[in-house]
């Protein structure tokens, strides 16, 4: 399941929904991304996105995770709009029988999302605003899944 929304989400409620009435899940991994203030440099973060593309891209990423690992459920929620330090940005959750699949799929989802989902962060602080630059580590994190996939093919 994917959701792109301006309003906040509730981690506990979302995970409860994921496992509700199910007795075949052994492991749930949840990743929660939140706004850091970088020692006071960030007072506000604005997330812009490309609505028509965002949902398609997240759905594609989620489908790929489900093709790679035996998941009983998966969830991506990504917010847009203006956020404050400490606010939730993104939630990724995966449920599986065993923890190895749940962990791998959750890491895959957030790695892919960070390099493919059309969101852009703008940080505002006492020194003005700046668009966050893409982190080379995210490209590296993304690349390891490509390698895994290519090796398996």
């Amino acid at each position: 399941m994917i959701r792109v929304q301006e309003e906040d989400f509730d981690l506990g409620a979302e995970v409860a929904l994921l496992k509700e009435g199910r007795t075949d899940i052994g492991a749930i991994v949840a990743f929660l991304g939140t706004v850091r203030d970088r020692g006071g440099a960030v007072e506000e973060m604005t997330l812009e996105h490309y609505p028509a593309m965002t949902e398609a891209e997240l759905a594609r990423i989620e489908a790929e995770a489900n093709a790679r690992w035996p998941l009983q459920a998966s969830l991506i929620i990504h917010r847009y709009g203006t956020l404050k330090p400490g606010d939730n940005i993104v939630l990724v959750a995966t449920a599986s029988e065993h923890r190895d699949a749940a962990f791998a799929a959750a890491e895959f989802l957030i790695d892919y999302l960070k390099t493919g989902a059309p969101f852009w962060k703008r940080e505002s602080g006492p020194e003005g605003h700046r668009w966050v630059e893409a982190d080379a580590r995210d490209e590296g994190a993304y690349a390891r899944w490509k390698t895994t996939k290519d090796a398996a093919e």
């Binding site: 991304g33 997330l47 812009e48 996105h49 490309y50 028509a52 593309m53 398609a56 891209e57 990504h78 940005i89 993104v90 957030i110 999302l113 960070k114 390099t115 493919g116 989902a117 059309p118 969101f119 852009w120 962060k121 703008r122 668009w131 966050v132 630059e133 893409a134 982190d135 995210d138």
Partner: protein
Amino acid sequence: MRLLYFAWVKEKTGVAAEEVELPPSVTTVGELMDWLKTRGPEFADAFARTDVVRAAIDQTHVRHDARLAGAYEIAFFPPVTGG
């Protein structure tokens, strides 16, 4: 053809979305960026370093050598920074 701009590409061009008629010589995403640069200083600035500008055709990521034939909507934006 519909063009969209996001994040600092939008800030620099000063345009979020527009409809354009392309000259027949423009057939790829890269050629489109080169053509956009000629439309004024804002566009020249936004596309000064085409290597860092990403593109999508009809909501799918594409490389700069992707062909425009049949496309309805082309979007230009910086590397994504969500998550």
